[in-house]
């Protein structure tokens, strides 16, 4: 714990916020005052508590159907974080596996993976995501899969390079002479040795995935009603900017603070865990 004492204030605050958001996501069912879909037609477009007409029944006000904004934000945090977390894990697994494949089989497999990495890196991912949604139609499974594909090339590039170096090391060759399978060499030995680089990349990838998810949901092409996400709350709320700004602004602020906190933590973690990656 002594090591934490020297942390910059911004990193400490970010940590607190991230922990709070994780708690909110996990405990959503217990802490949300209402169900996110509960409609209260007598209290439509109620303003937040600090404005005239606000009520403690709905601390952050209600939307056009009288749904509690606070409860919707709590469930949206759960959706957005869960989708981003799932996406980040899928991306890390996908990129790591492909990086290992390239290093293990070399030759045309490596060429193919490298080409796919360049291809992926050359195109803005949002455009590809939109194309996939247009061609394949929207479904939650596809959407999560798209979040998973996002950023795979960065894992693949890092893992490929590190695996090439690691497999030439004595311990990897020793394991092969002992009869270990490739899966054992790569996943039980090389993976733990390069895990810190992967974890750093995950913390940097996570807030970007949150941004992608919220952006697509904001455009109406991500999480679909009746499910709620921070992005689609802002998307629906923008129609009420004139009359009920809080519907859009409250989730927007949560998005901003959350991605900012994750970025600050990720930057710090990168410098802390892996000085060699700095500046790249």
């Amino acid at each position: 714990m002594a090591r934490l004492a020297g942390l910059p204030l911004s990193v400490r605050l970010s940590g607190v916020w991230v922990l709070a958001m994780l708690a909110v996501a996990i405990l959503a069912d217990w802490i949300a005052p209402y169900d996110y879909a509960a409609i209260d037609l007598r209290n439509r477009l109620t303003p937040p508590i600090w404005m005239t007409g606000g009520t403690w029944l709905h601390p952050l006000g209600t939307d056009d159907l009288g749904r509690d904004v606070l409860s919707r934000i709590i469930y949206s945090v759960r959706t957005s974080l869960a989708v981003a977390l799932l996406g980040t894990i899928i991306g890390a697994a996908l990129g790591t596996s492909l990086g290992f494949l390239a290093a293990r089989f070399r030759g045309w497999v490596d060429d193919l993976v490298t080409m796919a990495i360049d291809f992926q890196a050359a195109l803005p991912f949002l455009i590809l995501a939109l194309a996939a949604l247009a061609f394949l139609g929207n479904s939650l499974v596809l959407f999560v899969a798209i979040m998973g594909v996002y950023g795979w090339e960065r894992y693949a590039r890092i893992v490929r390079g590190m695996a090439f170096a690691a497999q030439a090391q004595g311990y990897a060759i020793a394991l092969r002479t002992l009869g270990a399978s490739s899966a054992r060499v790569y996943f039980a030995h090389i993976l733990p040795n390069i895990a810190s680089a992967i974890i750093v990349n995950m913390t940097l990838n996570f807030p970007e995935t949150v941004l992608l998810e919220t952006s697509l949901s904001f455009l109406g092409l991500g999480i679909q009603p009746p499910m709620t996400s921070l992005g689609n709350m802002v998307g629906f709320g923008r129609d009420y900017l004139l009359s009920a700004w809080w519907i859009a602004v409250c989730p927007a602020v949560v998005i901003f603070v959350t991605t900012l906190a994750f970025s600050l933590l990720g930057d710090w973690l990168r410098d802390y865990l892996d000085p060699a990656l700095r500046g790249s």
Partner: protein, 336 residues
């Protein structure tokens, strides 16, 4: 004499291909090992000596199925083992074990000693759970390591301890052959003796067959039963330890033996020095590979590579001394 060895090697060639630039510089092929025959009898410790770069490590790796090699014969207990590592039967990977030069490099920095010593049993599915750990502990005891190091990581051990962990990891599979590639050259002299004595003890107690690769003739003389001297990809002399060290025939062996520091300074003889630079393996000289540095060099040596042939009368307890040298052969009564 046609003794059937546990490990038999005929006509081994190992290539190193340097990739050139297309259309500008063609790639070149270098034979780091160029036609080597070796036989290891069961329970024997064979020393393989030579300067660094002579191909002895490459030879050892080829025996493990690593690298780019071809051989007329490569047999283990009568079974053809020419296949590369990835295509060898699993049982073979258990029966022949390899001990690396640098034990720190050969161990995974992020796994505990006990895990790494037990892992070969897991890989080969030889024991489960508690049984596995018990056998790993026994292997560690066999190499004289205490229980306190089980939970440690490689970087927390001394060099000698690490090398003994590597040996324990090989022993846990109860192999028949141990190929030790300069196992002690990274260690302090005092610790070298411990490891060497351990190897001899293992042979005496378990009948382990060992190929001991080293550039240190003193160690080889202390440990081995037989020795093969390698120069630039070829064997130039081979024979039982004592006779060979007493009476080396090949000028290269003579120079090596003369260079061993004597146990006592008063016994020091004038040093027969090797003249000239060790040639680059990239462009081996024609004829006898040693001829540019050889004090006895003759015309035939420059053109005609000498064969490794037995020396008549130089037979000791069933082991034959052989030499590959035109000049030395003339001095002896040789069958040819």
């Amino acid at each position: 004499m046609t003794e059937v060895g546990l490990l038999e090697l005929r006509g081994l060639r190992c290539r190193f291909a340097s990739r050139g630039i297309p259309l500008i510089a063609p790639g070149t092929t270098v034979h780091a090992v160029d036609g080597v025959d070796l036989t290891l009898a069961p329970g024997e410790i064979l020393g393989l000596v030579g300067e660094s770069g002579c191909g002895k490590s490459t030879l050892a790796k080829a025996l493990m199925g690593l690298g780019d090699y071809q051989a007329e014969t490569m047999r283990f207990a009568g079974q053809d083992i020419r296949a590369p590592l990835d295509r060898r039967p699993r049982d073979l990977l258990r029966r022949i074990q390899y001990v690396f030069q640098d034990p720190l490099d050969a161990l995974d920095p992020r796994r505990s000693v006990l895990y790494q010593v037990a892992e070969p049993l897991l890989i080969h599915g030889l024991a489960s759970g508690a049984e596995r750990e018990a056998r790993a502990r026994a292997a560690l005891r066999d190499v004289n390591l205490g229980a306190d190091i089980e939970v440690k990581f490689p970087h927390q051990l001394s060099g000698g301890q690490r090398q003994r962990v590597v040996i324990a990891r090989a022993l846990v599979l109860a192999p028949e052959v141990l190929i030790c590639d300069e196992p002690v050259s990274a260690l302090d002299v005092s610790i070298q003796a411990q490891v060497v004595n351990l190897l001899r003890d293992l042979r005496d107690r378990r009948g382990l067959t060992i190929l001991f690769i080293s550039h240190d003739l003193g160690l080889v003389r202390h440990l081995c039963d037989r020795v093969a001297v390698m120069y630039l990809g070829r064997i130039c002399e081979t024979g039982p330890i004592e006779p060979l060290f007493e009476r080396p025939r090949h000028p290269y062996t003579q120079a090596l033996v003369a260079a061993i520091p004597p146990p006592h300074p008063r016994l020091r003889k004038p040093l027969k020095r090797l003249i000239g630079e060790p040639p680059r393996p990239g462009s081996p000289p024609p004829g006898c590979r040693f001829h540019p540095r050889c004090p006895l060099c003759e015309a035939a040596c420059r053109t005609e590579p000498p064969a490794l042939l037995p020396i008549v009368g130089a037979q000791h307890d069933g082991a034959q001394q052989s030499v590959a040298c035109h000049v030395a052969r003339r001095g002896e009564a040789l069958p040819c």
